[in-house]
Structure formats: structure tokens, C-alpha cells
């Protein structure tokens, strides 16, 4: 059971207080989009063994969504950041780079 910190209210709590929301930073494709784009958006998810950016909701707390950067293999948590962001903050990315040298080049 993970320990996470809610970016919205700052509470650090047990995983049972949160609700996982899957991969972060998806771009929505609506009417008019191609079948391929829509399929990609609705069904295809990264499943990395390692650094992953994901959405969580503080469901049994402040109710707010936030983002978490986490290692799916070691369960190391690199940090939380706002749900209202299109990409992880640069400061977090460099922290991950410190912990996983060369990680950024692997995309």
C-alpha cells in the first residue's frame, strides 16, 4: 500500500485515501478525430517498467485530482504536481533525472 502526498491539500496519506486514475497527460480526441487517434486516446496506455506519470484523486480527502511521478517497478515516488498541467514541471523532471540518469533519453 503506497504512501502518497496530495498536491492540492498537502496531506500525506495511505493509498486507501486515494483513487488511481491511470496515465497522465492524455490528449482528448472528440468528434471529427480519426479512428486511430480516438483509439489511442481511449484505450492505449503506456505501461512502463519504471518512471510513470499518473493521475490520482484524493477521493477520501479534499476530493481534488493531482499528478504523481512514480517508478512502477521500485514504487519510488518522485513527486506530486498539479492536475492542471499539460506536462510535468521541469524541476520534477530533473529530480527524476538525478535518480534515474539517462531516463529522459529513453522515451
Amino acid at each position: 500500500m503506497l504512501v502518497l502526498t496530495c498536491h492540492a491539500c498537502g496531506v500525506t496519506a495511505e493509498e486507501t485515501e486515494f483513487h488511481a486514475g491511470g496515465e497522465a497527460h492524455l490528449k482528448r480526441f472528440g468528434p471529427g478525430s480519426s479512428d486511430e487517434d480516438f483509439e489511442e486516446y481511449l484505450f492505449m496506455r503506456a505501461n512502463p517498467k519504471g518512471v510513470h506519470f499518473e493521475r490520482w484523486r484524493h477521493a477520501n480527502g479534499c476530493g481534488k485530482w493531482f499528478h504523481v511521478a512514480r517508478d512502477t517497478m521500485t514504487l519510488e515516488v518522485f513527486g506530486s504536481y498539479s492536475a492542471q498541467a499539460f506536462a510535468p514541471p521541469e524541476e520534477l523532471l530533473s529530480r527524476i533525472e538525478d535518480r534515474r540518469p539517462g531516463w529522459r533519453g529513453q522515451d
Binding site: 468528434p31 521500485t74 519510488e76
Partner: protein
């Protein structure tokens, strides 16, 4: 004979005799006994029958690793199967019974299986019971059910109580042996918050039995001193009878404390589940002795050498008058020496090793006059229900008998395995220690925490050091390192105490005795006692191609019993490696999973039983319903009246009465459970246009509109009436139980997709009580209450208005889910009951009756209104339900629109909603399928539709149903066949789903 000695037994209180029964026999022990030690003291060596061959089995171990001594404990509400005698504390009145035998322990019919053992090899179940398929139900399954299984499941409700504890600490130490206690003292004196969990009821682990001196005093005194000192530290919590059961992500640990297992009639919870978050965990879990694999190693009287020593020293029990010790290491000599000191006979120590010179312990044994046979092994144990002797052979040979020694017990030791389970639970890696032939924690690859650092540190024997001084040094180093990493200052004067050093000779790995044992011997050399797996089985598995350890484990069932292979894993692994001609580390281990040792299901449930299993949501009128005959139906966490029974009527009759009364006179429905979400803000209209398939931004203030909500995948997820309150405020009704889910759905889109839209959503479901006043007399009743104008002109169908009725501040929606004249009226929740009472009074002369959810269902089905969860099941789109009118064509976008454009969603062959009417007026079975011509590729009948809702309609006097049918709307009048599970075939005609008042005249008056 096993018996109680006149002296000894450091854990016993001989002033307190205890009476107990085993298989109905009255026996006696002492306070401080375990059930196992007390059974041995009464010469009850035979305790059960093995799983597959029903071989007689005796006690092997003295701790949780015991594979054989599983018993049924207690009776009725305190009955518990598969309790381990070795971990069951004895108390006055304890009742135990052996398991897995018939008709009796002494004479067991199933033991005939042992003569069939050639025919019950590894993978037997897979091979034998695969074909023919038809034999499964009547031949194989009854046979397996009869012969398999250990204890019986309890039938009575557990009368005890259980609880959960939540705790946080800097260091959690699992294991209260010398290593754990010393680590606790180091951490405690450094100022850390420490919890120590010890699974047994005494401190010190093996050390007091194995002896030695620390700082010049006997080790048991040293242990007492550490405990006394720890008790003075306020930052240290000591728990005995508390097992570290599992280590999980980020330092989460489950502890299993047994509070009343030794005193069942004392008030208070029986078990306590500790849910601990620890910054760091020290596993001081010790080590477990391994058996040796020789023929007949399962005959009652063959025990682990350390267990023989434990029973002798801890409980003053001699397991036999003449004990042969067989070993591959020095440690077992302690048993021989202890037995000799107790005045018992040790005819020989059979040692597989050949050593250049005698070690300290070997010299001691010889000085006591014990015969030491180096380079020898046991070819076979003699005896049936009890050991009568051993045949000695050369370890290097194939088992030619050199000599027979008569004895009534065998103490065996195959070396020691560190208890690495808790280290491994969360990903700690292992390394193979060649010198000691065991897996020990690879400290460079620990389980990692949230910060990416290791959060578990092994200490003492658990880390693979076995000598007393090494154990203490290791524990100090572990605690010192942990304290430093957590930022605590370890006091300078703290250091590891000096323990006397004993020079032991190295052990020698022995995986089979003798090393060249013949097939005949291998077939009697047991690896897993509980699951009846022998050396020959593992070899056969390897031969048949099960080269992965995980596969071989499942094929042979090695290590899959309730002891999870605590004794058998390493021996099994080594046997597999030998058969594959591979080395042990390359074969690898199976996965260690929590719990370390079985814990009670009740402790997992804790307090969450009966009425407090989960919270129940009650409407303001709940108690009134309860006193007026309500039969309750759970809907989400809510309880709603299903029907209100009057006098002696049946539930069915009550429902029929409620339907007729509502249609003819007037009914009241408690609709408070409907979800109510306020959506407000400059962008609220735009937002609701995305949430619903129809247009909500154009809804006029003062009006209501029925809306459908879909997921982004296009499927229908909720429906309800939306009302517009003012320019930027809407109220969205959701289904009962849907409020939280739909609120979450809205928040998700607002927070994560359209976060720049100015919208606020509030769930006000519980702020209001809501009553549906339904039926031809509804208006008259409201007029009787007096207040606002509720006429058709002032408040038309699908209007809403604020006002006052009978002195209550109300909001009235003229909406109808029944097809009748209907007002849904919201009042402040606190006025709910009073308002309901007022309606009952006002309606008294108008024929008012309350109605429940089943009546609501029939009313809506008669009108062809869909119900989320009946007509929809997560695979249904609104288009399937003929709801095109509620899907906006004008909107560019709404959630689900793109998905509904996919080819599969626009397929004209999707099943469509229709009404169904049986030709004979009977009621179609719910969920029944309509069959079509032909068969599919699996040889099953083709289908062309299914029933989604089905009722008897008292209004129409016949069965009515809704269903989804292939091209249904184009097939009106056609008759379909629905085979029922009752063997009958039902014929039903496809009709319009609106059975009652198709023009909608009654609701619009």
C-alpha cells in the same frame, strides 16, 4: 514413549495444572505448555493423517513451521480448523481433535492410499482427473472432496470479537529473540519510536534453549535484563503473541496479535490486527531447521533436533527414552548433549560429515559417552505409528544396511535456513550462501520505499549468521545503521555485548540420505509432510519437463500447504536442482507471500461485521417506513422500502395493491435517495452540454428536462431530470446510489480536462427530503395542504416552482416516472418526516398509501421507461433504447459522441429495446434469452434477444416485459421463444414498450 520429566521446563508453571481433551480423551498439562508439548507429555505422538496417503503423522517441530500437528480446536462458535498444536497455548478446558482421518486416528481407511502410492505420483490429479470430462461431476469431484482437505469449515457464527489497531513508528522490529531485543534496545536508547513484535509468548527466541553466555552471564539472564530495560523505555512498545504477518509497500506492516487464545472466556477481543506504518523495519525473524531426506523420515517420532531440545528445555518433555541424532552440522549435538544431561539415552549421533578433527561440541558429546558415527546416515527408519529403530548406512553409499539401532525417537538436522519471508514479501532479493547451504537476504538489494531507499534490514540469524556473538554484533550493526539513516544519534557508550565464542565445524549440505539412495528409499523420503510430496515426486516432475521451480511446485504441490513449505522449500529446491543437474541459485526460489503464517479471517474483518459491516444511509423518513411494514431493499448504501406490507398480506400482494392504489387514487414514494447535484457557474450550461447527450444550456429557467449521461466510451451511465434554477444554476438528479459516482465524474472532467471553465458542483443529495406525490388525487391532496398554486396552468408538466405547502417551504417539480399526475416535492431534510406526515393526513380521505421500489418499477415499466442497471448494463448506448429523441443532433460534442460514431455502435444489428408480452399472460423469466435458428461455432443455440425487465402488471392484468431484440422495432407482432431455466419455453410477442397510456394523457393533466 514420550513423557513429562520430573524436572525442567523453564516455561512451565507446575503449580497450575491444566485439563484438556484430545479426541475426547481427558489429558493434563501445565500452564505454559503448548498443545503440542502437552500432547507429547501424554505420549500422544500420533496427531494426524497425511493429506494424500493418510500416513500416520506426528509432531515434527516446536513452532509455526510445524507441518503435521494441525487440529480442530473448540466447538460451536469457537470452533477453529487447522490450528497448529505447536503455536496453540494450552488452557483449562481446551478441546482439540485430530483431522483428516476416517473413521479414527488410530485406524484410518484412507491409509490404504499408501499402498497405492505408486499410483498417486506427482501430477496425479492433473493426469487422472482430466478425462473423460463427464466423469468430473459424479466420480472425480466427490472422490476428491471426500479425500482432500484438512479441517472442516466452521458452521456456527464466531462468538468472539476482533479489532484493528493502527500504529506508526520509526522502527518496527519483527522478532523478539536476542537479535530483535538487542536491536530494540539500541534503537530505543537512541530515541526512536520502536515497536517489537514477537510471535511466541516468551522473549529470547532460541537463545535460552541453546545456551551460551553474554557479558559473563547466562544468555537467559541477559535476555531478562534486556526486556526489563526495554520496559522502562516509554518510546518502546513490546508485544508478545504478536506475529509480523506481512511486509508491504512503503513500510506498511500487518501484525497479528493473539490476545485471548490462551483464555477464551476472558472479556475482550480475541485477535488484533496491527496495521503499522514504519519508517524502517528490522526483520529479526531467526532461522528454521531443515529436515533431512531419508526413508521413513515422516514416521511419528522423527523430529527436528532443535524441536526435541525445545520440548526438553522449555517444557520438560522427553520425546523418547532412546533418541538417535542424525545431522550434517554441529548444532544438533546440542540436542544430544541436552538429552544426555537430562538422563536420557542417546545411542548414537549419526553424522553425515567426515571431518579432519573434532569440534568443541563433538568433543563434549564424546566425553559424555555418546557414540558418534561420522560419515554415516540413516538408510531407513523402522516403525509404523511410532519409530522403533533406524538402519544405519554409509552416507556416501546407496543404502546398504550396516547396522540397526533400536530407538523410539530420531532427532534430525539438515542445517538452518534464515527466515527470509518478511524480507522477501516486498521484493527483498536473496543470495545463496554456499558455506551454510541456505538463502539469506542480499542486503544490497532490499525492498525499496517511497524515497527509493531500502526500508527493511535483516538482523541476527535472519540475515544468515548463527553463532551467538555474530548474532549480537549483526543486530547492533543493523540497528546502528538504521538509526543513522533515520537521523537518530546512537549514544556513544552503546555497543554490542561480548558473547562467548564457540568453535563449530562447518556443516555439509545433505539433500538426500544416503546420497545414492535407491528409488525404493526415495519413495519413502518425504520433503513436504503436509502435502505428501516425496523426493521421488520432485524428481519425476523434473523428468517430465517441469524445470521451472514455480511449475514444479504447482505440479507436485510442494510447499503449497498451509505451512507454505517452511520446512520443505529448500530441500525441495535442492532436490529439483539435483535432478536438473543445475546449481541451487540458478533454479531460484518460489515467491514468498504474506501472511508468514495463517492468520484468522476474523482478524482481517476486525470490527466490520454485522450491523457495522458498512455504513447504512437512511432517509429522513426511514424510521416511519420501518414502523409501517417496509420490507427493505439495499440500493447502494441506501435502504429503500421495497414494499409496505399490511396485515398478513404477502410481499407480492402488497406490491400489486400499491400499484393499483397509485394508479387509481394516490401514492407516496420516498424519493430522497435520488442524487441531487447543483451545477453552478458562468460555464455551467456549456459544461452540462458536454455531460449530457441532450442540450441543457437551452433549458429555460423554471423548466425540467430528462437527460442521459454517457461515458467517453459511449455507454449509458446515468439518467435523471435536470432543472434550471436561474441563469447560471442547474440541479441534476441522478439515480439512487449514483450521486457520488456522477459527482466524481463531473469533478474529474472539470479538474482534469476543462479546468479553465468556471463551474462549481455541489452534492446536495442529503440536504433535501424528496417525496413523489403520485396519482389522480395528487393535486387534490396538495390543494388540501394549501399554499402555492399547483394547478395545471400555474405549474404545468415538466415545470418546477418554489413555494409553500401546508406551511412547509417546498420546491415542487412536476415530473413523472409513473405516467400519472405527479409532483416530486423537495423540503429541507429536517422537515422530511413532518412533511410526509402532513401528506399522509391530507391524503387520508383521498386514498393515500405509501409505495416502495417494486411498485415504482412496475409503474415505470408499464410506461416503457428505462431503468439504469436493468435496461443498461455498461454495454448499452442510448440509441439501443430508442432514446434518439434525447440525443442532440445539434451539439458538436458531448461525452460519448465520438465513441457512438464507431462502426460497431452504428451497426443496425445492435439489439434494440422493445416491449414483450407473453402469449398466455404469464411473466417472462428475468434475463431469459430469445433463441434463434441454428448454432454458433461453439455448438450453442443462436440468440436474438434478452429480457431486461419483467413484471406482472396488475393494471393490465398480465405479464409485461422489456427486452433487447435483434431488429426488434421492425418486428412488431412477431413471437419469440424464451427457454427458461425451469425447463419451460415461454412465448412472447414483440410489442411497443409503452403498455399504459401511450399518448401520455394521464401525466399531463
Amino acid at each position: 514413549m514420550s513423557t513429562r520429566l520430573a524436572t525442567g521446563g523453564r516455561l512451565l508453571n507446575k503449580a497450575k495444572p491444566v485439563n484438556f481433551t484430545f479426541n475426547g480423551k481427558n489429558l493434563r498439562g501445565y500452564e505454559g505448555d503448548t498443545l503440542a508439548s502437552a500432547l507429547l507429555a501424554n505420549d500422544q505422538m500420533l496427531v494426524g493423517r497425511s493429506f494424500k496417503y493418510h500416513r500416520p503423522r506426528g509432531i515434527v517441530a516446536a513452532g509455526p513451521e510445524e507441518p503435521n500437528a494441525l487440529v480442530n480446536l473448540g466447538a460451536e462458535g469457537r470452533f477453529e480448523p487447522n490450528a497448529r498444536a505447536t503455536t496453540t497455548p494450552l488452557f483449562d478446558g481446551l478441546q482439540a481433535a485430530s483431522q483428516n482421518h476416517w473413521p479414527s486416528l488410530e485406524f484410518d481407511v484412507g491409509a490404504i492410499n499408501k499402498h497405492l502410492s505408486r499410483f498417486l505420483p506427482a501430477g496425479f490429479y492433473y493426469k487422472m482427473f482430466m478425462y473423460p470430462r463427464a466423469a468430473w461431476k459424479h466420480v472425480y469431484e466427490p472422490f476428491i472432496r471426500q479425500s482432500a482437505g484438512l479441517g472442516k469449515a466452521p458452521k456456527a457464527t464466531d462468538v468472539d470479537t476482533y479489532e484493528h489497531f493502527y500504529a506508526f513508528c520509526d522502527v518496527l522490529i519483527i522478532g523478539g529473540g536476542v537479535a530483535g531485543l538487542h536491536a530494540a534496545l539500541t534503537a530505543g536508547k537512541s530515541g526512536a519510536r520502536v515497536i517489537v513484535m514477537e510471535q511466541s509468548d516468551h522473549w529470547g527466541g532460541r537463545a535460552p534453549v541453546d545456551g551460551g553466555t553474554v557479558d559473563g552471564q547466562p544468555v537467559d539472564k541477559f535476555v531478562d535484563g534486556m526486556v526489563t530495560e526495554l520496559e522502562t523505555l516509554e518510546n518502546v512498545t513490546l508485544r508478545r503473541n504478536c506475529m509480523g504477518a506481512g511486509v508491504y509497500d512503503h513500510g506498511y506492516v500487518l501484525g497479528y496479535e493473539r490476545l485471548r487464545d490462551d483464555s477464551p472466556h476472558v472479556q475482550g477481543p480475541r485477535h488484533r490486527l496491527w496495521r503499522v506504518r514504519a519508517a524502517h523495519i528490522i526483520t529479526a525473524t531467526g532461522a528454521i531447521e531443515r529436515p533431512l531426506s531419508f526413508a521413513g523420515n515422516d514416521i511419528p517420532g522423527v523430529m527436528l533436533a532443535a524441536a526435541v531440545r525445545d520440548y526438553l528445555v522449555n517444557h520438560g518433555v522427553s520425546v523418547g527414552d532412546r533418541t538417535v541424532v542424525v545431522t550434517n552440522n554441529d548444532n544438533a549435538y546440542l540436542t544430544a548433549i541436552a538429552l544426555k544431561h537430562a538422563g536420557l539415552d542417546v545411542p548414537a549421533i549419526v553424522d553425515a560429515r567426515v571431518l579432519p578433527q573434532d569440534s568443541q561440541l563433538m568433543e563434549q558429546a564424546k566425553a559424555l559417552g555418546i557414540r558418534v558415527m561420522m560419515g554415516h546416515g540413516i538408510a531407513s527408519v523402522k516403525g509404523g505409528k511410532r519409530v522403533t529403530g533406524v538402519e544405519i548406512c554409509a552416507q556416501a553409499g546407496e543404502g546398504a544396511v550396516l547396522e540397526e539401532i533400536s530407538c523410539d525417537a530420531v532427532a534430525m538436522s539438515g542445517g538452518w535456513s534464515p527466515v527470509v519471508h518478511l524480507w522477501s514479501h516486498c521484493g527483498g532479493k536473496l543470495r545463496w550462501d554456499t558455506t551454510q547451504a541456505c538463502f539469506s537476504p542480499d542486503v544490497d538489494n532490499p525492498p525499496l520505499g517511497a524515497d527509493g531507499m531500502g526500508f527493511v534490514t535483516p538482523a541476527g540469524a535472519a540475515s544468515g549468521v548463527f553463532a551467538l556473538d555474530d548474532v549480537l554484533n549483526d543486530a547492533f550493526a543493523a540497528a546502528d545503521g538504521v538509526m543513522t539513516s533515520l537521523g537518530f544519534d546512537v549514544p556513544r557508550d552503546l555497543k554490542s555485548p561480548e558473547a562467548e565464542r564457540r568453535q563449530d565445524a562447518p556443516m555439509m549440505p545433505v539433500w538426500l540420505m544416503p546420497q545414492g539412495a535407491s528409488v525404493k528409499l526415495r519413495e519413502k523420503a518425504w520433503l513436504d509432510y503436509q502435502n505428501d510430496v516425496k523426493v521421488s515426486d520432485v524428481r519425476l516432475a523434473a523428468q517430465e519437463g517441469f524445470v521451472s521451480v514455480e511449475h514444479a511446485k504447482r505440479y507436485t504441490t510442494l510447499g503449497m500447504a498451509t505451512d507454505q513449505g517452511k520446512l520443505s522449500n529448500i530441500n525441495g529446491l535442492a532436490t529439483l536442482a539435483g535432478a536438473l543437474d543445475a546449481d541451487i541459485p540458478s533454479v531460484g526460489t518460489t515467491t514468498f507471500r504474506p501472511p508468514y503464517h495463517p492468520i484468522s479471517m476474523a482478524s482481517i474483518a476486525g470490527e466490520a461485521r454485522g450491523t457495522v459491516f458498512q455504513p447504512i444511509r437512511r432517509t429522513p423518513m426511514h424510521d416511519w417506513h420501518d414502523t409501517h411494514g417496509a420490507e427493505w431493499e439495499p440500493v447502494g448504501h441506501w435502504r429503500r422500502p421495497y414494499a409496505y406490507k399490511q396485515g398478513g398480506e404477502s410481499t407480492y400482494d402488497a406490491v400489486m395493491r400499491e400499484v393499483t392504489n397509485t394508479r387509481e387514487k394516490m401514492g407516496l414514494l420516498d424519493a430522497s435517495t435520488l442524487g441531487k447535484l447543483i451545477v453552478k457557474g458562468p460555464d455551467a450550461g456549456r459544461f452540462l452540454d458536454m455531460m449530457y447527450t441532450n442540450m441543457m444550456s437551452t433549458l429555460k429557467v423554471g423548466k425540467c428536462r430528462y437527460g442521459l449521461m454517457c461515458s467517453e466510451n459511449g455507454f449509458l451511465i446515468d439518467d435523471g431530470v435536470v432543472a434550471r434554477f436561474d441563469e447560471d444554476t442547474w440541479l441534476c438528479h441522478t439515480t439512487t446510489g449514483g450521486a457520488e459516482r456522477i459527482h466524481g465524474h463531473m469533478e474529474e472532467w472539470l479538474q482534469t480536462e476543462w479546468w479553465d471553465w468556471q463551474v462549481y458542483v455541489a452534492n446536495v443529495t442529503e440536504q433535501y427530503a424528496q417525496v413523489a406525490v403520485v396519482g389522480p388525487n395528487a393535486r387534490k391532496a396538495l390543494e388540501k395542504l394549501g399554499g402555492m398554486d399547483v394547478s395545471k396552468e400555474a405549474l404545468g408538466f415538466m415545470d418546477w416552482a418554489d413555494g409553500e405547502l401546508g406551511g412547509f417551504k417546498v420546491r415542487v417539480y412536476r415530473i413523472s416516472f409513473s405516467g400519472e399526475l405527479s409532483y416530486e416535492i423537495a423540503v429541507d431534510a429536517s422537515h422530511g418526516q413532518a412533511f410526509w406526515d402532513a401528506l399522509m393526513v391530507a391524503g387520508h380521505d383521498l386514498g393515500v398509501m405509501p409505495y416502495g421500489t417494486e411498485c415504482l418499477h412496475i409503474l415505470r415499466a408499464e410506461k416503457g421507461f428505462i431503468m439504469i442497471g436493468d435496461e443498461s448494463d455498461g454495454t448499452i448506448i442510448p440509441q439501443d433504447l430508442g432514446l434518439h429523441w434525447a440525443i442532440s443532433k445539434k451539439k458538436e460534442d458531448y461525452l460519448g459522441k465520438r465513441a457512438q460514431e464507431r462502426s460497431h455502435m452504428t451497426d443496425p444489428n445492435r439489439w434494440q429495446l422493445v416491449g414483450l408480452e407473453t402469449t398466455d399472460g404469464s411473466v417472462l423469466p428475468d434475463g431469459a434469452y430469445a433463441v434463434a435458428e441454428g448454432e454458433n461455432e461453439n455448438g450453442q443455440r443462436n440468440m436474438q434477444g434478452r429480457v431486461t425487465s419483467t413484471y406482472h402488471s396488475p393494471t393490465l392484468g398480465k405479464g409485461i416485459a422489456m427486452g433487447l431484440v435483434l431488429n426488434g422495432p421492425d418486428r412488431m407482432g412477431e413471437t419469440l421463444i424464451f427457454p427458461g431455466t425451469d425447463g419451460k419455453e415461454y412465448q412472447a410477442k414483440i410489442v411497443n414498450p409503452v403498455f399504459y397510456d401511450p399518448k401520455g394523457e394521464k401525466q399531463n393533466v
